[in-house]
Point group: C2
Chain length 220, copies 2
């Protein structure tokens, strides 16, 4: 399998980055090919705008989705976007690796979605969504850390359930473009755990990656 890990953490020595490293290593050990888009390391620009395109269809009035479609039809996506799109197209499984910030993706990863999941390329122009989406056949999964403890995201948690928080990511982004979504791997509040507990989490992740083919699909 070809694996794409889109990773968004500012500290390479963080536990979140260790989860990414272990994911990549485990996939490779099991014979899979891994590409990593390390968004902080490559200073990925997350701001969707006119720079997404080599040339605008209408330089007087910027209409993002229309320009995305025009770029798709006329091969005008900027090089940084094309590189990410090519990686996405070739991947059999796409992993989002991040710390949960404000109940969602860090801006640098949200912007990767805003720009790379472009209309024309990822949906629209007659293409389907969800079960008939462009990337049907691919799998996807979120691997993330949280600040708050698990109980805060439970049925009676003050933050609402983790499923509520993840709905826009799992359903609205990954499943929208047709990918099957594997149950996420969540490391709750690693900053408050002991080394032993963190080690257990790493083992749990390794096992999840080794058995990825059998993992539960929650959408798609």
């Amino acid at each position: 399998m070809k694996v794409l890990i889109v990773h968004a953490h500012p500290e390479p020595k963080s536990f979140c980055s260790a989860l990414k490293d272990l994911t990549a290593e485990t996939f490779r050990q099991n014979g899979h090919e891994v590409q990593i888009s390390d968004l902080y390391a490559t200073k990925f620009n997350p701001i969707g705008g006119a720079h997404d395109f080599k040339k605008a269809a209408n330089s007087d009035y910027f209409k993002y989705q229309s320009e995305q479609v025009n770029a798709y039809q006329n091969d005008l996506y900027a090089e940084d976007l094309k590189a990410e799109m090519d990686k996405l197209v070739s991947a059999d499984i796409v992993i989002f690796s991040f710390p949960l910030w404000w109940f969602g993706l860090p801006a640098i990863l949200k912007g990767w979605v805003d720009r790379v999941f472009a209309m024309g390329f990822a949906y629209g122009t007659g293409k389907g969504v969800y079960d008939t989406g462009v990337f049907k056949g691919k799998k996807s999964m979120a691997i993330f850390t949280t600040g708050g403890p698990e109980v805060a995201y439970g049925e009676k948690g003050k933050n609402g359930t983790i499923e509520q928080t993840l709905f826009p990511i799992n359903h609205g982004m990954l499943y929208f473009v047709g990918m099957s979504v594997i149950e996420p791997f969540i490391a709750y509040s690693p900053a408050r755990l002991s080394d032993e507990e963190r080690k257990k989490l790493l083992e749990k992740l390794k096992s999840k990656i080794e058995n990825i083919e059998k993992e539960k699909i929650i959408y798609g």
Copy 2:
């Protein structure tokens, strides 16, 4: 009242930007003071990282929340952040104005939240959250446009309900820091509407802003 509008759209002539302009104008006509953070116009940097701080507490290992707390305690937030924090502190009502991209805030606005709602400043260090949050007493509201039509976000809509989509924004961001959240103003799919229908939406928004004190609170 003091109003802060945080606006995120790349095109000043868009319908989304027209909603922001009308909001500002109506508040001013009714005697309120309005500040606008126009994130695209000012090229706001949405990437949370070491540049958020004048000086790091630990330059060998970047731990975002710890640095945020340290910056709060030692007056070390970068100038661009301090300017936004000052606007937020002085506001009685905070408006997020944006196009709904991928079931959430455009990255440039998500990054405003990631950086400005800093630990120490907006929560943490003994401060409460939700009903005891730092910004209790302030009101907040989302004003946004969508690509998809209203039916796609209804009870049987393929996208899930709009409430599901908005949960991380209304509950996870605005209410988390203590603000009361007013029912959002949603312009569904303005690109597909007639001029007459768009005019009606503008009238509806104007009336909502004029009667903002009586508007329904959905959280807080």
